[in-house]
């Protein structure tokens, strides 16, 4: 992986090549990489810096094989991301990274892969799908389950439609509520679980979304016979430095920025959903 700059605390200045509004509160930034280049592994994040406002950790949502662009898909929740939503093409943004652990896609060659995404959690999983679909023969059955609030909140709609047309990918989308006329599923993402067929001896699952969603998804996967060492999760914590120095992201002895955000569940089961942490 090629980091943006040598001094990891100083953001590189990147130009916004494209700004695409995905939904009412979600948008995608395509940034030009700096001259020294940029590469990442699926699941990693960058710290994006809005000059004068603040810095936030945002996972990378682009294709890891595409080194010509840095792509971030962001949901506007706080002050920094809301301000980012007003950015325009050719404006500048500060970038530090890439940071953190990644989904272990190379270790999972030959396995069936289940991806479960909730809300903006689809963004860190998209690079996994890009990789798998470009190397499709190296993996077994591939399933993507994606849950959102409403049909209007679905991100990457066109891409999902084109993926739906593939015979080598099972894809189910579900929303919490919909108007009459929506022909997809309605219900939280966990309600899809009883309907899917998995080979528990050969499946690896990668989950990304709010902790509560992952918690219930893990329960369903356990019912299906998956063990904790077959399930990977991406955790979220407040971050500042992104490199294990400040302690903001600490979860017991674990630094989410450095030891995560992608964890094997069996390694963090004792930390997951702990109220005290």
């Amino acid at each position: 992986m090629k980091a943006l700059i040598k001094d990891i605390m100083a953001p590189a200045v990147c130009v916004i090549q494209k700004f695409r509004k995905e939904t009412q509160d979600t948008f995608t930034l395509e940034l030009s990489p700096p001259e020294e280049g940029f590469s990442f592994s699926p699941g990693q994040f960058n710290m994006l810096y809005m000059y004068g406002i603040g810095e936030v950790p945002i996972s990378i949502s682009g294709d890891p094989a595409d080194t010509g662009r840095i792509i971030h898909t962001i949901r506007a929740y706080g002050a920094v991301t809301s301000r980012m939503m007003t950015l325009k093409k050719q404006e500048m943004i500060g970038v530090r990274g890439p940071f953190g652990t990644h989904w272990p896609i190379e270790d999972l060659v030959g396995r069936d892969i289940l991806l479960v995404a909730g809300g903006i959690g689809i963004a860190p999983l998209r690079p996994v799908l890009f990789h798998i679909l470009s190397n499709r023969t190296r993996y077994g059955k591939v399933l993507l389950l994606y849950g959102e609030r409403t049909p209007g909140d679905l991100i990457f709609r066109n891409q999902i439609e084109s993926w739906r047309g593939r015979f080598d990918l099972e894809l189910e989308v579900t929303v919490d509520s919909a108007r009459e006329g929506w022909r997809g599923n309605v219900g939280v993402v966990t309600t899809l679980m009883p309907r899917i067929v998995l080979d528990p001896s050969n499946t690896a699952a990668m989950l990304c979304g709010p902790e509560i969603m992952m918690h219930y998804t893990i329960q369903e996967l356990t019912k299906k016979g998956l063990r904790d060492d077959q399930i990977y999760i991406s955790m979220e914590r407040n971050m500042r430095c992104g490199i294990g120095l400040c302690g903001h992201c600490q979860l017991g002895p674990t630094f989410v920025c450095k030891d995560g955000p992608v964890f094997l569940l069996s390694k963090v089961r004792h930390l997951f959903r702990k109220r005290e942490l």
Partner: protein, 153 residues
């Protein structure tokens, strides 16, 4: 009836059920088919059956004045549609409509209630299975209403 019993046996909802009880249930069962867009029932209708979905997709809707019909749940193969037949006042609370061509086994609610009164083993099995279904749906509904797809990096 034999065909219905086989279908009941294979349906995940009745997995592990005593074959004698499945025989009784099969007596109350018949095959149904619904075209895309066809209402299976509407709010306020008498709740006279449970549907075991074999194939297709069904949406459960609620009508809200000025907002039209809102889809609150979809069900597919392996799912059960409707438990109002089991509890007074035996009325449907929502609308249910087929989104795709849907094939199902319909169990006659009135007959089932009567058989369950006569044979408490059957009654207990039905209550166990339907209360688990109600609990699962309640948990899913709780997640649905708290907007779980909140903030994430």
């Amino acid at each position: 009836m034999d065909n219905s019993k086989k279908t009941l046996e294979l349906h995940p909802f009745f997995e592990g059920m005593d074959p004698d009880l499945l025989d009784v249930m099969a007596c109350c069962a018949c095959h149904r088919e619904y075209q895309p867009g066809q209402f299976i029932y509407r709010e306020g209708d008498e709740a006279d059956q449970a549907l075991l979905i074999i194939e297709g997709k069904v949406c459960v809707e609620i009508f809200a004045a000025q907002r039209g019909s809102l889809v609150i749940q979809t069900l597919g193969p392996g799912d059960i549609l409707g438990w109002s037949w089991l509890f007074p006042p035996f009325k449907r609370r929502f609308d249910a409509r087929a989104i795709e061509l849907t094939r199902a086994i319909a169990l006659d609610g009135g007959v089932l209630r009567q058989k369950a009164d006569e044979d408490h083993r059957l009654g207990y099995e039905l209550l166990k299975r339907f209360s688990r279904l109600v609990v699962e749906r309640l948990q899913a509904t709780r997640l649905q209403i708290i907007d779980i797809y909140g903030k994430h990096i």
